[in-house]
């Protein structure tokens, strides 16, 4: 923690740069969360599209937005990447690829920049330092799309699971839901960012803080960009006929804790892990892949387990035929060679005969 503080003091004047991405199905409260976090309408709300096009599947769009924040006197240059359209299609396979592609292209940029002889001093680091994944508040457990996404993205970015629209769960339901999600995460071995600490190395405060944050995972988020009046106070919240939910009340939502963790206490840690660990892994993988050659992606068939057996058999057959033909080719070539040798030999013989004839003729003539 000490070195972190020192780092902060140094950077206070310069300000920090931080990028995070929000991913989640439509209606889980992404946009509202971002607007609540930045206290301003950073992202535009989804305008309900033309009802006549409601049956069309729009793909996923990745949009980064930059905003300047002032947090406790520290300037933060925040870049937020929104991913509208994720999980809204009938078939969502391609969505994962797009997001992973985006993350990897940021890493590629850095890789290219590092390898330049003359580096650009004003190079902008667009790597994503954290990814907030919004889980729909079903109250049951993780769904297939949740598990798939977190699993595919954890090797590239710090994934922090978050329960969106947590005001649809009663306190008991929320506790059970959180517990089941963490059980699932452990069961499927998904490496999320869980505020790592070392009980031997770090000091007590850090250990306490991190373990407390760990128990709050996944954070239950309620967002609102509207202000309501509760008991005479004006707060950010949502007004229902049966009561009012306050965004900043820690008994109602974990929003405040997440905000402070993301923007002050753990900002540096997230950046470090992204650079020292995730980026290095990517770099190693990528460089060793290019050394080994692109054989891996040569296979034209993405083997679908279903018909792959027969396909493989036919492939074997084809291979055998190829070999046979190759043998035939070799044989024919050998024949050709032999014939050529014969020809040459005969030519030699002829020539010598000719020579002798010529000599004999000369002698004769003489």
């Amino acid at each position: 923690m000490a070195h972190r503080l020192g780092g902060r003091r140094k950077n206070v004047k310069k300000g920090f740069q931080f990028t995070f991405m929000v991913v989640g199905a439509s209606g889980t409260g992404r946009t509202t969360f971002v607007n609540t976090l930045c206290d301003s309408g950073v992202l535009p709300k989804k305008i309900s599209d033309n009802p006549e096009e409601a049956h069309n599947e729009a793909g996923i769009k990745i949009k980064p937005v930059s905003v300047e924040l002032d947090e406790d006197g520290v300037r933060i240059s925040l870049t937020i990447v929104d991913t509208p359209g994720f999980g809204d299609n009938i078939d969502n396979e391609k969505c994962f690829q797009e997001i992973v592609g985006y993350l990897e292209s940021q890493y590629d940029d850095i890789l290219a920049e590092e390898n330049r002889i003359k580096r650009n001093p004003r190079f902008r680091d667009n790597r994503v330092h954290a990814l907030l994944y919004f889980i729909a508040p079903t109250g049951h457990a993780l769904r297939e799309i949740d598990i798939e996404l977190m699993r595919r993205l954890s090797p590239r970015v710090n994934v922090i699971p978050v329960i969106g629209r947590a005001d649809s769960l009663t306190p008991q339901e929320l506790r059970d839901f959180k517990r089941r999600i963490m059980e699932d995460i452990e069961h499927y071995n998904i490496p999320i960012y869980n505020f790592p600490y070392d009980p031997e190395e770090d000091d007590e405060d850090t250990v306490e803080e991190n373990s407390e944050l760990r128990t709050l995972l996944p954070f239950a988020i309620i967002g609102s960009d509207e202000e309501i009046v509760v008991n005479g106070r004006t707060v950010r919240g949502r007004q229902y006929p049966w009561g009012a939910v306050e965004v900043d009340n820690p008994k109602h939502s974990d929003f405040a804790r997440l905000r402070s963790a993301l923007l002050s206490s753990h900002l540096q840690d997230l950046k470090e892990i992204t650079h020292d660990f995730l980026y290095e892994n990517y770099r190693t993988e990528k460089l060793s892949r290019t050394i080994n050659g692109g054989d891996q992606d040569g296979a034209a068939l993405d083997a679908d387990e279903m018909a792959s057996q027969s396909v493989r058999l036919k492939e074997e057959q084809l291979r055998r035929e190829e070999e046979k033909l190759r043998d035939i080719e070799l044989k024919v070539q050998k024949e050709i060679q032999e014939k050529r040798q014969e020809l040459l030999a005969k030519e030699e013989a002829l020539r010598s005969l000719e020579a002798r004839l010529a000599a004999a003729q000369l002698q004769d003539a003489a």
Binding site: E52, I90, R143, A307, V311, E322, I336, L357
Partner: protein, 395 residues
């Protein structure tokens, strides 16, 4: 409804009555119906976690369906298909029995790829019509098993935006086969303003996409009913909160609801959700209409379309045999045929090349052979000529 049983004999008309006693017929009907009971099949459709089971249990104030057992979620491997789950129950209130069947669709919309998720559901509905039709055509029609779906509740995720493509696809297909009633699930996550906007946007999409939803007859004999029917239809899609637990509100009442740290959302409070209206629609006032619409409209449509193309007694043409598999099969087959064709081409060209080479070399050989023969001939000729004058060579 059920097959008619023999009419009970008319009780002797009281001596002082005016008229013949025909006006007593409705009472007779009432007795018959009351004795037979009713048969109602309800389908709930929607992603998991939207409160379908809780709603059904709340509607009939009894635990008809079991809540999903989440402790076993890791034990069984997901089959990745939509299943049809049937739960039967018999309800009795004031000596009147209702045989209730609840159809659930676990797995719908839960996967990454939900293409063709609606096929098992649509097939099930058609199957019930088919089964009934078959039984009707049998010589003996006693004891017909009727599981035709009388109403389908489609649970919409409370995103607050609009319907997503999967919703639109499914609702289109369901609406033409069954009485479709759209329902906004877990409505306690939407503020009144959000809810109004959401309902409007859903209604727009339903209109624009030509989705058929159930609409009950509004006109009725008395004013109150007409007004009530109007209210009910205007509230479509119905926002729903489900709960089987009793909680105490801030003013001391004990109600069915959900208790949050900021208040209690009540199930039966009209300002909180449309549960009462939906219950009225499904049970109290329009159950009969739902049943008769199913029989008169949807079943007749099905029957008509089937009889136009099939002879009496013919088996049904197989429903689309899992087009998902067919699709994949087609793609693979195409890929494979292309590959084979390409390889064959290559081989053919290769063969031709080899043949050409061989011919060329043969020709070369031939020409060389000819040359050799020529020279040999010359040699011989010379040799003979020399032999005839041997002296010149020996020199």
């Amino acid at each position: 409804m059920a097959a008619a049983s023999p009419v009970e004999s008319v009780p002797p008309a009281p001596i002082a009555s005016i008229g013949t006693g025909i006006a007593n017929l409705p009472n007779q009907r009432h007795k018959i119906v009351a004795k037979n009971g009713a048969n109602f099949t309800l389908m709930v459709c929607g992603e998991s976690g939207l409160g379908k089971t809780t709603f059904v249990n709340t509607l009939f104030t009894t635990a008809i369906k079991d809540q999903k057992n989440l402790n076993r979620r890791k034990v069984k491997q997901p089959a990745k298909t939509v299943q049809v789950q049937i739960t039967k129950a018999e309800l009795e209130e004031k000596m009147f029995k209702v045989k209730l069947t609840v159809i659930d669709t676990p797995g719908f919309g839960d996967y990454v790829n939900n293409r063709h998720a609606w096929i098992p559901i649509v097939d099930f509905i058609d199957d019930q019509h088919e089964k009934y039709m078959r039984q009707e055509q049998q010589p003996s029609r006693k004891g017909i098993v009727d599981m035709r779906v009388h109403a389908c509740l489609y649970f919409i995720k409370p995103t607050g935006h609009s319907l997503n493509p999967l919703d639109v696809e499914v609702m289109k297909r369901l609406g033409s086969r069954v009485n479709l009633i759209p329902v906004i699930a877990k409505a306690d996550t939407l503020t009144p303003a959000d809810l109004a906007k959401f309902k409007e946007s859903i209604r727009d999409v339903i209109a624009a996409q030509n989705i058929r939803v159930y609409s009950c007859p509004i006109e009725s004999d008395d004013e109150a009913s007409t007004k009530r029917n109007h209210n009910i239809m205007n509230a479509m899609p119905f926002s729903v909160i489900g709960s089987t637990q009793d909680v105490t509100t801030s003013d001391g009442r004990s109600v069915k609801g959900r208790e949050y740290s900021w208040g209690v959302a009540e199930v039966e409070n009209e300002e909180h959700c449309d549960f009462k209206k939906l219950r009225s629609l499904l049970v109290r006032t329009h159950m009969l209409d739902l049943i008769s619409t199913t029989e008169e409209v949807h079943y007749e449509n099905y029957r008509q379309s089937q009889m136009e193309t099939r002879k009496f007694g013919d088996p049904r043409s197989q429903p689309s045999e899992n087009p998902k598999f067919k699709e994949e099969e087609e793609v693979l087959r195409k890929k494979f045929t292309e590959q084979v064709k390409a390889e064959e081409q290559r081989f053919r060209m290769w063969e031709q090349q080899l043949l050409a080479e061989r011919d060329r070399l043969h020709k070369e050989l031939e020409s060389q052979n000819d040359k050799i023969k020529e020279l040999q001939g010359e040699l011989d000729a010379y040799y003979y000529s020399q032999r005839d004058s041997p002296k010149s060579i020996r020199k």
